[in-house]
Symmetry: C2
Subunit: 192 residues, 2 copies
Amino acid sequence: MRADARKNYSHLLAVAREAVTEHGVDASMRDIARRADVGLATLLRHFPTREALFEALLCTHLDALTQKARELETSKPPDEALVSWFREVVAFVQSYRGVVDLVASAHDDPDSALYAACATVHSVGAQLLQRAQAEGTARTDMNGDDLFALMSALGWAAGQPAFAPRADHLFHIIASAILTNPSSNDAKKAAC
Amino acid sequence: MRADARKNYSHLLAVAREAVTEHGVDASMRDIARRADVGLATLLRHFPTREALFEALLCTHLDALTQKARELETSKPPDEALVSWFREVVAFVQSYRGVVDLVASAHDDPDSALYAACATVHSVGAQLLQRAQAEGTARTDMNGDDLFALMSALGWAAGQPAFAPRADHLFHIIASAILTNPSSNDAKKAAC
DNA sequence: ACCTGAACACCGTTCAAGT
DNA sequence: ACCTGAACACCGTTCAAGT
């Protein structure tokens, strides 16, 4: 990459982060280019789609989620690890307004720039779930897809102003549906 | 209303229903007007906002939900009634793509044309919940807000292509979180 | 009363022309 | 290699002018 291109790239990312913080996933691409004092076509050259821009904006955070899952796997009992990580993913999809819709549709579209990152999150989640299932503390009639869907659904709800005030409680309700072992009540409370 | 206005009104609704079936909640107002062979300003005169249009498109269905709740209240045991109605609301928010977002945001905005209808659905739902709670078959640590949020969240997930295949199972998981009485297992199965 | 066309300020896509 | 401006086909809002 040429020096000026590299400079544009990082500047665009910084400006985009601002715009997206304000307007969520529907922030105007034109507006981002304008704020960065760059032609719209230049923005589109670096990030041909909205998904590509968000892949760049979110990749650090996404990697951190994967890392966190590996950490929890060794540092916490399976049920606690699962619930703690669940909560982190829910918080993540709320990082910018509307991200959860982007992630959910990317999850179904291998051509999306966000697909690979979603697949990774999905698979480390499935691992945490299986670990708790093997231990007998997570219900066995659900799979990684269900876990991902529940995290997304809760993230969606928590992002709605109407439901946000009850987000913690909704988390508790869903967590109690996932965990089965009555002895894990203190784990649940700790995670809440 | 003048005769020509009345004719425009019902014709617009019919055309809008088509467009919305195809493109969901983001259907172009301009396109609807075009399809109806009417000026865009005429459409906006009848339905000043997208919410107003959807209020008209959904009101019959919304009334039916309220009616259904009253029926279930007398015809079914509280837990079964709650779960059956829950399922109907989830299906309702999937009637057109994106309706759930409209409903969720209307729920928080008294100025929205959809606010009153949402409030009614909310309150009949809260009644069904209380009835089951009084009987001891629904968990007592949740309220009408939580119920509405869970129905919406599940409706959102079911509307995502990535999660739709598991929608029935997700419903089962959440239903099991709401119901507490182990003797209600057959009711749950019947509703599934 | 009700309808209409046009002006306005946006949006993302595309591409030929510049350095 | 990379950037740019302009043309294009959209969008919803607003309002003066028509019947």
